[in-house]
């Protein structure tokens, strides 16, 4: 028997004081009549007690506090800082360097993509382009013409022949 995750979330919010007044009233009413939910709340409280004890220990420990003279040390470090204008300029420089570097990288990417486009990598132009000498082209065109002509003749013979008879070649 377990409570659902939604109920567990509800109980956490209840323990954290994050429920609205109405939600808290409804939650308390459910806790009164649902022992399982009540048991779950106790378990969450037990687990939270580890945090509470750790928090209390840390708050009580002097190690968790700033040492004496800390403020003086910070002020001495502040005095060594340049004035605000110089600070602003000093902080702007690395930003500008980063910006310039990013712009250069972006430009390099764009130029690279442009070159790839130019070589036809994206359009596939390189694949359907024939390269041949003019004489070879002429011969190829004639060959294609002959194929077309013979094809037309062939189809003409087929139409002229009676059904069921194939024309002799």
């Amino acid at each position: 028997m377990h409570v659902s995750q939604n109920d567990e979330r509800l109980l956490y919010r209840f323990l954290d004081g994050e429920l609205t007044a109405d939600e808290a009233v409804a939650c308390r009413a459910r806790l009164e009549c649902e022992p399982l939910l009540r048991q779950c709340l106790e378990e969450l409280r037990d687990r939270a007690s580890g945090f509470a004890t750790a928090r209390a220990e840390a708050n009580a420990a002097p190690a968790g506090l700033a040492p004496a003279g800390f403020t003086t040390g910070v002020l001495a470090a502040v005095r060594r800082l340049p004035d605000r204008e110089a600070l602003r300029a000093a902080e702007l420089t690395p930003h500008l360097v980063v910006l310039c570097r990013r712009l250069l990288i972006a430009a390099a990417i764009v130029i690279g993509l442009g070159l790839l486009w130019q070589t036809g990598l994206f359009t596939g132009r390189g694949a359907d382009t024939l390269q041949a000498r003019p004489g070879e082209m002429e011969q190829e065109m004639q060959r294609l013409d002959e194929i077309i002509k013979s094809g037309i003749l062939e189809s003409g013979r087929l139409e002229a022949a009676p059904r069921g008879e194939r024309p002799k070649k």
Binding site: H2, A66, T71
Partner: protein, 212 residues
Amino acid sequence: MFALKKNPEASDPELIAAILAGSEAAFATLVDRYKDRVFRLLSRYCRDAIECEDLAQDVFLKVFRKLDTFQHESQFFTWLYRITVNAATDYLSRASRRRLRLVEDDAVLDGGVVGSAGPGQSGRDLDANNPAAPLLRAELAAVTRQIVDKLPEKYRTILILREFEDLSYNEISAVLRCNLGTVESRLFRARQRFKEALERDHPALVPGRGVR
């Protein structure tokens, strides 16, 4: 050049205005006001007191440098916490890069009372009537710190802010710059991770098993 008189009664916005106008005393007041909170928060991440002091000094120097960018949209302390958490997480990532192990509670690692607790003992033993309750609570606290130290940074941070620093969900969302829903769900997942680690590594300290 600087106004030398400290004014501990001044509000944060008044102090900030004075600092931006060049008052060193106002900055000293601000540091005095928040140094212990910053130290405590940093000590959740870094157990070395000297490193903690260095980090805290860096935090306040950054506050001084960036103070003119503070927008007053949120409270000053949430802005300060954001800077502190960022400094702490930067420190953690630097430390993990250097493969430095964080200081852990040796007593807990060696076993101690937790290891000797019987399997029948449960969180109910933390009742005030149980004479061993203070000891068990101390053990649970030590184990809690140990488990939190080992959680992934985002879960660790949200648990520290909620459970140790006692910030509300709204304050956590301002510090971490995320919405309330994210805070709630991340906190829930962090607690689930914590519960799993507790059940896996320290079953003797697990309260009853009514929650899945």
